[in-house]
Symmetry: C2
Subunit: 215 residues, 2 copies
């Protein structure tokens, strides 16, 4: 599919957003969309959209717009949504539980395979049909060739590094990091969740609005 | 400060990321950084960085790099971090509590002013030193001229719209939306948090890595 071996991270980071919009259009029964319309909805420029899609191949014919169903399938493929990656959740505290209960891993092509928490009151109990395990049993339960590919870190920052290292030792390849610990040096694929970015954008937009209204 | 009245949302959405990197450099005592170095750290191109900063004014001299302390102050100003916006939290369930306890509003220039939850077992109790109030008292407690500017929605999707409308009625101008409800039609500034975007990026990068390793 991909035309070039190197695609910049900036483009890759826009793909999930594209997927959200395209998937929604597809669910709504829209069959074609122009780069202009898509750009307007996503607050991008039409030439940006065309450039981005060009990195991955041909999704449309000039003047006819893009085929929404094709875009939907192809972006899902590029994102690896059909890989069925398995996920280990580390930490079933407030944040971890809230993700387990509210985030639909399956609908995004992921499978939540196991949950670990060091709280003795939680070990052995269930959350959303999954048993909460003792982190001491991580390697025994998940280690080796069959180890899930992704670990989700919802632990306190102080134990994040130790926890990531234990995941790596068990065979995990990638970390979805909800802590503020910097884990780039561990030789794992790491994605940090920075929810603060969106409240800063909100603050900016509110500030702009007030300047417009009150000068 | 801003050179042009219109700055695209794509640039604005990059600002919090710039701020995170620049603020970190500033804390680390770095005094100057080139667009190239900054671009490398942020997985952007140097010309993108120069273009983005150009939208807001002059932060550096050609060939000398950017003044980190100046960038830090100016981006904070552009983002409105000194506005001291006040925040109402709607929902003190797992997600809401986890945000109240883990997200440092103050360090980002925001002030958490009040918390509401409809659970009778929670009303009247405290979280992080703040009393949890009955949503029926929203307008009485927060309404009018002194209404906080921002409402955070950590409620079930089914009540998100009703809750956003109550916030609007009380005088809230902006919504930080953790639900999957689409609230763009309410005439409020709305920022959605899409944590799924980052696990999709993670899936993509993992997929790429495996293709490199195993062909």
């Amino acid at each position: 599919m991909s035309k070039s071996a190197f695609i910049s991270m900036a483009v890759i980071r826009r793909l999930p957003r594209y997927y959200r919009y395209i998937h929604r259009l597809w669910l709504d029964g829209v069959t074609r969309i122009s780069s202009r319309e898509l750009a307007d909805r996503m607050e991008l420029t039409a030439s940006q959209v065309r450039q981005d899609f060009n990195c991955f191949g041909e999704f449309g014919q000039q003047g006819c717009g893009y085929d929404v169903a094709l875009l939907n399938t192809e972006i899902a493929k590029i994102l690896g949504l059909n890989e069925g990656y398995r996920v280990i959740m580390m930490g079933a505290g407030r944040l971890g539980s809230s993700i387990i209960e509210n985030f639909n891993f399956e609908s995004r092509g992921f499978h939540l395979a196991a949950v670990f928490d060091s709280d003795p009151n939680k070990i052995g109990t269930e959350i959303d049909g999954l048993k909460i395990n003792d982190p001491a049993d991580l390697e025994g339960l998940c280690g080796g060739r069959e180890c899930p590919e992704i670990g989700v870190l919802c632990v306190p920052r102080e134990v994040a590094r130790e926890c990531a290292l234990a995941l790596k030792k068990a065979g995990v390849k990638a970390i979805w990091n909800f802590t503020s610990e910097n884990l780039y040096d561990l030789g794992l694929v790491v994605e940090n969740v920075h929810i603060s970015d969106s409240i800063l954008t909100l603050g900016y937009r509110l500030n702009e609005l007030e300047r417009e209204l009150y000068g």
